[in-house]
């Protein structure tokens, strides 16, 4: 594959979850030079943790993994970020595996033994499916999904680390309920949260991003980001 083609990958970040060290190393060799970011995990748990810590465009995962298998991990991730893209690779191309992959919404299904080209091609194909990168959520605020960056009046602003994660979790689930559990899981690494502290953090975000931002508190359940702004066409 020509270098120019591979340059298309330069804007995406990839998470590879593979238990075989040798395979992981080979995939790393074939992808890392071309991607914006490359994360590697040896099992489902590690993959999930890396997902929570970093912005990941595409997840490349094996099905058979120790501790937590590929599908279990994907299910967990999709519950946090319903639009997450992922590619499944496996040695066992059983019907059951393919069917599960389709149900979970995998972009692509790769059979082992793999070739670097195949992975690259699949990644490129998936790139096209990445959500439109920007979204105006209030008259003032625009977000860029790909870069996970926030613009207020076309100026890039930064939130504190926790606030950033809280905000983006809400953004992944626009018009959907983000439960306390999800906050707990994604933002606070599973530690039980102080609802008051979360409320304070959300109030701070609202303060920073302007009054138009609607984040509703749903009693005893969680929060929801609502978009009231409709740009004129």
């Amino acid at each position: 594959m020509h270098l120019n083609t591979l340059k298309l990958l330069s804007t995406i970040s990839v998470l590879v979850v593979e238990d075989d060290a040798m395979t992981l190393m080979a995939i790393k060799q074939g992808l890392k030079p071309y991607c914006e970011a490359f994360y590697e995990a040896k099992d489902g748990y590690e993959g999930l943790e890396l997902f929570k810590q970093h912005r990941v465009d595409i997840i490349l995962t094996d099905i058979h993994l120790p501790e937590m298998n590929g599908f279990e991990m994907i299910t967990e991730i999709l519950s946090l970020k319903p639009d997450q893209l992922f590619i499944v690779m496996t040695s066992y191309d059983t019907d059951k595996n393919i069917l599960s992959s389709i149900q979970e919404g995998a972009c692509s299904f790769l059979r082992k033994p793999l070739e670097v080209k195949d992975i690259q091609t699949s990644l490129l194909l998936c790139c096209g499916k990445i959500k439109s990168t920007t979204k105006q959520i209030t008259p003032e605020v625009m977000i860029d999904y790909r870069k996970e960056s926030i613009y207020k009046n076309n100026e890039l602003i930064f939130l504190s680390q926790k606030s950033h994660k809280i905000f983006w979790l809400l953004c992944y689930n626009i018009e959907k309920l983000v439960s306390y559990d999800m906050f707990e899981d994604y933002v606070y690494s599973g530690e039980s949260i102080n609802k008051g502290a979360l409320h304070t953090a959300i109030l701070r975000i609202k303060q920073q991003l302007g009054k138009d931002l609607v984040i509703d508190n749903i009693q005893n359940q969680g929060y929801m980001l609502k978009i009231t702004y409709r740009p004129d066409k």
Partner: protein
């Protein structure tokens, strides 16, 4: 628990068989001895009855025999007395000749008319008118003083007298003498004379039962006649001199030494018939027969027993052979199943290194095409490729060793042995997210001398079995179970104990009884149920140990205990 109970029951059964055999032999002998005893009694009774009959027979025979002769004689006398024939010598002589002519009853006749003459066998021996003091030239006795004459004259009735020597018949005779009475006046005596033997010859023709004998004694206890096997003459005469006291119709049993003797008096005269038998001889004879028949019966019984047992043995061997064939088939099947599982494991095991090799090589190719291949990256990749190739080689070696069926006894480390088995199943287990740990990941070195391959095969069966149980349970319960297999090892008292523990579905009571049986393949614990039978067999026969179900549920523990140091036994 139940299994061991069943085993002990089995051994008791084996034990019992011998008891039953011994007991039945004892009973058989008891029955035989009882039969023998009863038979003896029966024979005794029979002989007793027979004896009485014979006694009567003899008496009757003698009675009728004598009766005939007495009648004959008395008829003759009546004729003489009536017509006074004895007065006319010529006529008398003619009568005697006629009387003797073709007379079947008497050998000869002698007549004494004391006033006239003494006739012997139609010949005049002496004329008392001419020579009143006649003395017999041989017997040196006057007929008028001989016993037969005196008795008859005295009793005036027919008498029977035994004469030791008869001059005319030249031997022992029996004189049946009747008085000649005319008008109530004693005129003389007429005797029919017989050889004494003739009556006894007649009696001797009688059939006597076995081992019985008779003898005839007179009132003085003098033996007149006896049959073979009788007591000695002296003994009889000595012991029966006193029996004259017996009443006419009485009979009496007398026991003498081992002899039982029945004495009865004859009706006509003072003779006594004794029928005796020797108990010992009777019993000896019957004992002989009974032993002979009993032995024949016993031999027959033994023959039948031998035939039956050999037929049974033959059947048993046939069944055994069939069973062996069946076992062989099953073993073959189980082996095939095992090979299938291994091949699939082998397949999976090779996928990973082949996959990484393929990736690595395609990487190098791509980098090279894009002229971005750096020296260090190339080296790194090629080294990684080598590692993969080595992994493939290692996998192949382990699998080959496993299925080379090396039966040699070697010294090896148990941990390495277990690791090899785990290597074989690793990919397969990872695939199903089954975790395993050996001794909670603590290293317990156990060196043992055994057949490594067999240990591995048994462990493989146990691991597959545990895996199947876990998967089955997972299907039932959903993804909530802890899919974990523990292996613990320890060495004690010269035994190595390896426990394979899982938290799968467990084994219910009914299945646990037949868990290790050959026929269990159909409702196996979802796994190599067949494998368990052969694994147990292998452990028992080749590794001097056993494979048991230590705990049936939560957790399920299979315990393999085998000799730590196996010496070459073959």
């Amino acid at each position: 628990m139940k299994f061991s109970l069943k085993q002990s029951l089995q051994s008791i059964e084996n034990y019992k068989v011998y008891h039953i055999i011994i007991l039945s032999v004892v009973v058989l002998f008891a029955i035989m001895f009882n039969g023998f005893y009863q038979l003896q009694e029966e024979i005794q009774n029979l002989v007793e009855k027979n004896r009485i009959t014979v006694s009567k027979d003899i008496e009757y025979t003698i009675h009728t025999w004598l009766e005939e002769r007495i009648n004959n004689l008395e008829n003759g006398i009546k004729y003489i007395a009536k017509d006074m024939i004895f007065d006319d010598e010529m006529q008398f002589k003619r009568f005697i000749e006629t009387f003797l002519d073709q007379n079947p009853y008497f050998d000869t006749v002698q007549v004494v008319i004391p006033d006239l003459y003494f006739y012997m066998n139609s010949k005049k021996s002496n004329d008392f008118r001419e020579n009143p003091s006649y003395v017999h030239p041989i017997l040196k006795i006057s007929p008028l003083e001989s016993r037969w004459y005196l008795d008859t004259k005295k009793f005036l009735q027919t008498t029977i007298t035994i004469v030791d020597y008869h001059a005319f018949l030249q031997g022992k005779t029996m004189n049946i003498c009747s008085p000649i009475i005319q008008k109530d006046e004693f005129k003389g005596v007429m005797c029919g004379v017989l050889k004494a033997d003739s009556i006894f010859q007649k009696i001797q023709k009688l059939q006597l039962p076995h081992e019985a004998y008779y003898f005839i004694v007179n009132a003085e206890g003098k033996l007149l006649s006896s049959s073979e096997g009788s007591l000695a003459k002296e003994v009889i005469e000595e012991h029966f001199s006193k029996i004259a006291t017996l009443d006419h119709n009485d009979s009496e049993n007398i026991a003498f030494k081992n002899h039982i003797i029945n004495i009865s008096k004859m009706k006509q005269f003072d003779w006594y018939v004794g029928i005796g038998m020797d108990k010992d001889k009777v019993f000896g004879a019957s004992l002989h027969k009974i032993i002979y028949h009993g032995l024949a019966l016993l031999i027959g019984f033994v023959c039948v027993a031998i035939i039956v047992s050999s037929a049974f043995e033959f059947m048993r061997r046939r069944v055994e052979r069939k069973q062996k064939e069946y076992e062989f088939l099953l073993e073959h099947r189980s082996r095939l199943a095992e090979i299938g599982e291994l091949i699939s494991g082998f397949n999976h095991q090779l996928r990973q290194p082949i996959n990484s090799l393929s990736l690595m090589l395609s990487n190098i190719l791509q980098l090279s095409e894009n002229r971005a291949l750096k020296q260090d990256m190339l080296e790194e990749s090629v080294q990684a490729c080598q590692k993969s190739v080595q992994l493939i080689d290692k996998t192949m070696t382990i699998f080959r060793n496993f299925y080379r069926c090396n039966q040699e006894i070697t010294t090896f480390d148990l941990n390495d042995c277990i690791k090899s088995v785990l290597h074989i199943v690793f990919t397969d287990f990872v695939r199903y997210n089954i975790n395993f740990s050996v001794n909670e990941n603590k290293d317990i070195p156990i060196t043992m001398t055994s057949v490594e391959n067999f240990v591995q095969q048994i462990l493989l069966v146990l691991l597959q079995n545990a895996k199947d149980a876990l998967l089955e349970e997972e299907l039932k319960q959903g993804n909530t179970i802890n899919k974990k297999i523990l292996i613990t090892t320890k060495a004690e008292n010269g035994k190595v104990i390896i426990d394979v523990i899982d938290w799968g579905g467990g084994i219910d009571e009914s299945a646990s009884e037949t868990l290790f049986s050959m026929t269990k393949n159909s409702q196996k614990r979802q796994g190599s149920g067949l494998g368990l039978f052969f694994a147990k067999k292998l452990a028992q026969e080749k590794l001097l140990g056993d494979l048991v179900l230590e705990h049936s549920n939560n957790p399920t523990i299979f315990r393999l205990s085998i000799a730590q140091y196996l010496t070459c036994k073959e």
